[in-house]
């Protein structure tokens, strides 16, 4: 059996995960060692996260006002308000609809560019990789301002270039329909990290798998689908989880390109923008915390569901015994 067919076998049989054994003496030792390695994070969680997270949860049951510092318990009032607040529904819809379009692009672009920049048939890889990664080095606030200038309907370079070839440029930033295209374009500048992670993942694919695939007479597409994708699936999974969390928390680009008024026509009033406005612009930290915790519950639910899908498509060469 060649390495390639063996890999395919393992890949197919990943569904039948290993059965868990009872904890014996050896297993207990293993668990203690594992906990020892987790200790830095557990301590850090208790020291730096538990308290602020707990405090913000408490805020959500109060009318904490940031400007006056006054705080009183209001029970579930913030939560009942959230469920009848029409803006919550609107902002959530904006966020989810944007996610449906942005997530596939944000997932595919890093894979496509990583595979391109990993190709044997490419000159000047070091320079090209650096240049493709360059936008991710620019602070996101600067990125927003650069795109704001670049996409300006009259003076922006993009519309000037489009006009030069006879295409009337759209109103990228002032039309409620085009603003999402503008955000997605600018967003491509933020996925360089995902590209590098995918590149790092591509380095871990043992070359003999490719050789084996070649011996088996697999064509390039087949090899990509059956060797490359399974081997980088842990990185793709990571990118997917972070992408979805990031899109739930979508904020800075919308905040700067849309301005505090969430122009045009409140099209950039994403859920997290609404949270930010409530908590900081209107100083309603109590209601803001409620919005944040409801976002937390929604995003966590999706994250847990994504973790559950791993067994259908994520392949860990080190064994699937964990998740």
């Amino acid at each position: 059996m060649t390495a390639f067919t063996e890999l395919t076998e393992v890949w197919r049989s990943r569904k039948h995960g290993l059965k868990r054994e009872k904890l014996g003496g050896l297993a207990r030792r293993e668990a203690w060692w594992g906990l020892l390695f987790l200790a830095p994070w557990v301590l850090g969680f208790l020291g730096f996260y538990l308290l602020p997270m707990g405090a913000s949860l408490v805020f959500s049951f109060t009318d904490f006002d940031l400007s006056t510092g006054e705080m009183q318990f209001v029970g579930l009032k913030n939560y009942t308000r959230l469920f009848i607040d029409p803006q919550v529904r609107k902002s959530l819809l904006i966020t989810l609809r944007f996610m449906i379009f942005a997530a596939p692009i944000g997932l595919a672009w890093p894979i496509a560019t990583a595979v391109l920049l990993n190709s044997k048939n490419l000159w000047g890889k070091r320079v090209l990789r650096t240049l493709y990664f360059l936008p991710s080095i620019i602070p996101v606030v600067s990125v927003a301002y650069i795109w704001q200038g670049f996409l300006n309907t009259q003076t922006g370079w993009l519309n000037r270039a489009l006009e030069a070839v006879g295409i009337p440029g759209p109103e990228w930033l002032t039309s409620p329909a085009w603003i999402y295209h503008a955000l997605i374009l600018a967003g491509l500048w933020g996925v360089g990290d995902a590209m590098i992670r995918t590149l790092a993942g591509l380095q871990s694919v043992p070359t003999e798998y490719y050789e084996a695939a070649q011996v088996d007479g697999a064509n390039q597409l087949h090899t990509f689908w059956n060797v490359t994708i399974p081997m980088i699936s842990p990185m793709v999974f990571y990118n997917l989880v972070l992408l979805v969390i990031g899109l739930f928390q979508y904020f800075i680009l919308a905040w700067i390109l849309g301005g505090p008024q969430s122009n045009p026509a409140e099209a950039t009033l994403f859920y997290n923008v609404y949270f930010y406005k409530q908590a900081f612009s209107y100083s309603s930290m109590g209601y803001g915390a409620t919005l944040a915790w409801v976002l937390f519950v929604m995003a966590m639910t999706v994250t847990v569901v994504l973790f559950g899908t791993q067994k259908y498509w994520v392949y860990y060469s080190g064994g699937n015994n964990n998740v």
């Binding site: 293993e30 994070w41 730096f48 360059l134 670049f150 380095q203 990185m235 908590a279 080190g318 064994g319």
Partner: protein, 368 residues
Amino acid sequence: MSSLTRSLRRFLAVSSLTLFTVILLTAFLSPFSYMAATAFKDKEQITDPTSPLWPGRPATYVYNGEEVTYTFTFQEKEDQVTLSPGDEYDMYQVPDENGAMREWAMIVKRRGVSFFLDPGSPDAGLQEWVGEWRQLTPTYELSLRWENFEKAWNDLDFLRVLRNTLVIAVGGDIGTLISCTLVAYGFSRFRIPGKNLLLIILIGTIVLPRQVMLVPTYAFFTRIGWVGSWLPLIIPHFFGNAYNVFLLRQYFMTIPKEMDEAAMIDGAGPLRTLTSVILPQSIPVVTAVAVFHFIWAWNDYFEPLIYLVGRRDLYPLSVAIQFYNQQYVRELHMVQATAILGLILPVIIFFLAQSAFMRGVVVTGVEK
């Protein structure tokens, strides 16, 4: 012959793919070209909507002939103009009757009519052109304002903010690498009861919007006396963070377990297995984590801003740049010049770190 066709075919494949990649890159980076071009401009050009996209300055013509006085007629009155050697005149694109452009130096501008000198034949005397000179396009010549960067360097006190930034970024990087490697190893290689729940809690720390934890976190750091120092920006990174732990865990889990087992049979304990088996296999991703944290710390603006409030001497580059830009809101060229100045070191570091990304894993341990 077959080797010739093969190398020709390879040449074609390489050049066409490279060409495609470069074209895609040009489009992808075009907003960056806009940024870079702006950084090299001067204030006058930015406010002039008729100026070209590339950095330049209005071209001028220096008269170097003999002193001469010309007479011209404007609104039926005679007037005179004297040209002396060393006089400087602005260049304009002046159309002739057919619309063809001539680059002429403007000597006299009046409403409705202007007089030019053709630098190609200055002895031919003044050329009259009827029309509004304001509608003419000035001629620009390429001029890169390197002074913008010199000014940004001095105004930012660059070396001091660079030192501050490096302390924060490198200190945090050391903490991140040590702690995240250990924690990710724990998550990827040991059977621990409740591990999946712990992993979900780990991810949960980045799911809650950071801003909502801001007030209590600030209160906490004030209570323990860390506000006004670099400690809140460095120490927490010694306790792992979800982004990098999760990333390293994903990578560690692609390393075949047979390799750990072989090391353990040779008598290696868990820590030795980590340093002698897992880490050497993970150089690409460990480098990635180091670079990601460095760039993140380099650009992180919000945390240094609130934790270093009032301590200007401790400000890192990101905060210094923002403060500087607030003073120069209308000077777009300085805003972009400082931004580019801030990019240089991270770009160099990324470029150098490449050799680690490039490095494929040679030994796989999956013996046939």
